[in-house]
């Protein structure tokens, strides 16, 4: 037995993102997302990853030529609460579940067991990122789709909440492979989620937030002027102010960083302006 040292995280370079949607498609394929008759019903759609189209003209005040748009892939941000230690983490959604269907693993990933979920949707109410989705209808897999289902991910039943788990089943698969080779140190295992491996421009990076050699080393990202975390304005405050505010309440403290050199995009992603 080795102690888990990994803390999985992600960075997404929005300046490199073309909005092609390959991440979303590969996520749906990898995680056995159902296909409904009307998938244009976006508020009821079942997808772990939402490719959001964001514009600086959301208030309708920009003139011709000033309007800019960006695509923001958004999945579960794997929050941890004020304390980043996975053993003491309190993501907004985990503590509210009445049936312990969702939990934080020691690698910091917020997991969910579909078959334990009673479908109360309390976690959806708690999530600030709208990252959790509910199976409003019975998931359907027409004819040939059934043959291409991924055996590593369980198929959810109607009336349960599902979410992105950073493809932790791939990590488990890689772990099994290593054990077969006789390597039992869990910290040797590396993996890449489906969305990251599908990204054609290399905008998405995945790795260990604690490892200085990883592309998503947290200390480096925190000091990067291009980095911003979704709806997390407290990052802009000075450390003393952060300490003061964290005594009042928990903050989500997500493990996904967005990188962009566009100031308007950083402003809008970090949260509401008029506070």
């Amino acid at each position: 037995m080795t102690t888990m040292k990994r803390l999985w995280g992600m960075s997404i370079d929005l300046d490199k993102c073309t909005g092609c949607g390959a991440c979303q498609i590969s996520c749906m394929q990898e995680n056995n997302m159902p296909i409904f008759e009307d998938d244009s019903d976006i508020p009821k759609r079942v997808t772990f990853m939402d490719l959001m189209r964001v514009t600086n003209d959301y208030q309708g005040d920009k003139k011709y030529g000033e309007v800019q748009i960006a695509y923001v892939p958004k999945m579960c941000q794997q929050c941890s609460g004020n304390n980043p230690d996975p053993n003491k983490a309190v993501p907004p959604c985990v503590s509210v579940c009445p049936a312990v269907a969702t939990d934080v693993s020691d690698d910091g990933v917020v997991s969910q067991i579909w078959s334990r979920c009673i479908g109360c949707r309390y976690c959806q109410a708690a999530c600030p990122y709208e990252a959790r989705v509910f199976n409003w209808w019975k998931p359907k897999y027409e004819t040939d789709f059934k043959n291409s289902l991924n055996p590593d991910v369980s198929v959810a039943s109607r009336g349960t909440v599902v979410k992105c788990t950073f493809c932790s089943h791939i990590w488990k698969r890689e772990r099994d492979k290593m054990i077969a080779q006789g390597i039992t140190d869990i910290n040797q295992v590396q993996y890449t989620p489906a969305c990251v491996s599908a990204c054609p421009t290399g905008a998405m990076k995945f790795g260990d937030l604690r490892d200085p050699n990883s592309p998503v080393y947290e200390q480096k990202l925190k000091n990067d002027p291009r980095a911003v975390r979704l709806l997390h304005k407290i990052d802009n405050a000075d450390p003393a102010e952060q300490q003061r505010r964290m005594k009042i309440k928990n903050y989500p403290n997500p493990k996904v960083y967005y990188l962009t050199s566009k100031q308007w995009l950083r402003d809008i992603l970090s949260g509401f302006q008029n506070s």
Binding site: A125, F134, K249, F272, S275
Partner: protein, 414 residues
């Protein structure tokens, strides 16, 4: 065939107006049955709820019924623990209303969860922390709600046993009598349990959602308890008053109404001051802590007016219940009942329905929600069944002992 004859006689024993009311109620219940099957067998896709707007009209039903049914524990607490004997004539009706409110809260919750058959997971895999302190507020709701419902069932038994056909047997009579004597223990246990789930379902569940600006307030748990005591007592007076109006009889003596109105009025003073503090603390402390502006949460004038309406409704019962002149006039007193119940319902709508419509991302607008026909009829069906149960109890059990003291009434019910 005998049974059908019996039903016919039963139906014909009602007045013409009551028969029309019964037709309407049965029609709603029939539609409830159809839509209930549709929702339970084919999924919650038939509702207008979605991934942003996770709960809708049924949660207002849950919270409203629990808060209003909370009047049962508070009235029982005053009668059995503080020995305010003037409340005796209203207690049977109060217990019945409390029992029905809780029963239909559970029914609506079953509709609301995506997997009703897994509802027992809440008991089998509860999210307890150390020292049996619930981590999830919903775990606390599961346990306290179901345990308190059991207590209300026990409290209801003596009323059912007093039914004329059953009361003839000496054994049944004795059981009913001694259960009634021991009812203070149930009232005490009920108060204890009710305190927790009123707090958790009504407030704590929202107060702990720290990532949501519209909900996070650590004191919200306690606000919900006070809301239930204030609004619940108003509801416990409103329904017997309506029953009395329909039956054209004095079912509850005036002094009982006055006593309970005074209690409710004092609770409304506490509730209104607490709610004003709550809004103030939201505006200056908790919403800025989530990097939002308080005014932006209300979506313009509509939301602000809803908030103003809630506060105006809170001041009406205070005036009507506590000023002697208004309390002793029927019209003003009833205005107080209606305003008191509405104040609580509007507050639940402001917190919940409005809370869900608040955008999470700066570039999104407010979400609209318009309940579908399925949601309406499941909701209205529950209310219709509650009305039918209440009518049955009025006719066949001594729900209003005062009525039996003054005259032995058996005809001309609702």
């Amino acid at each position: 065939m005998k049974f059908i004859e019996f039903l016919k006689d039963e139906f014909n024993s009602y007045s013409r107006k009551s028969q029309i009311a019964l037709y309407v109620l049965f029609a709603i219940v029939a539609l409830f049955g159809i839509f209930a099957i549709q929702v339970l067998f084919w999924g919650l896709g038939y509702t207008d709820m979605n991934n942003n707007f996770a709960w809708g009209v049924w949660i207002i039903g849950d919270l409203g019924l629990v808060a209003l049914g909370g009047g049962a524990f508070f009235t029982g607490f005053f009668l059995y623990i503080f020995r305010v004997d003037k409340l005796e004539p209203i207690i049977n009706s109060t217990v019945l209303l409390g029992w029905m409110c809780y029963l239909f809260t559970l029914v609506l919750l079953l509709f609301d969860v995506g997997q009703p058959l897994r509802a027992w997971f809440g008991f089998a895999y509860p999210n307890w922390g150390p020292h049996l302190m619930p981590i999830s507020m919903l775990t606390e709701v599961f346990w306290c709600l179901s345990l308190y419902f059991c207590i209300l069932c026990v409290e209801l038994v003596p009323i059912v046993l007093k039914q004329r056909l059953l009361d003839r047997y000496p054994v049944v009579h004795a059981i009913g009598h001694y259960m009634h004597k021991l009812m203070w223990t149930m009232a005490a246990a009920g108060t204890f349990l009710s305190f927790f789930h009123q707090g958790s379902l009504g407030g704590g569940m929202w107060g702990v959602l720290y990532a949501k600006a519209q909900w996070f307030r650590p004191h919200f748990f306690f606000l919900a308890v006070v809301a239930a005591t204030a609004g619940g007592t108003s509801f416990m007076m409103l329904i017997p008053w309506i029953a009395g109006k329909i039956m054209k009889k004095e079912v509850v003596p005036k002094e009982t109404f006055y006593t309970l109105a005074k209690i409710s009025g004092v609770m409304f003073i506490f509730y209104t001051s607490f709610r004003i503090y709550d809004i103030y603390s939201m505006a200056v402390k908790y919403v800025p802590a989530v990097d939002r502006s308080f005014m932006d949460l209300w979506g313009g004038l509509y939301g602000i007016w809803m908030l103003a309406l809630e506060l105006i409704l809170c001041f009406v019962p205070i005036t009507m219940y506590l000023v002697k002149k208004f309390r002793e006039q029927e019209k003003t007193l009833v205005t107080g009942f209606i305003a008191g119940v509405s104040a609580i319902l509007v507050s639940k709508m402001n917190v919940l329905l409005h809370g869900f419509s608040v955008p999470n991302f700066p570039w999104r607008g407010f979400t609209t929600y318009n309940p579908t026909i399925q949601e309406w009829f499941v909701f209205l069906g529950c209310i219709a069944i509650m009305t039918l149960i209440y009518m049955w109890f009025v006719k066949y059990t001594p729900l209003f002992p005062h009525l039996h003291h003054s005259e032995h009434a058996s005809e001309g019910h609702e």
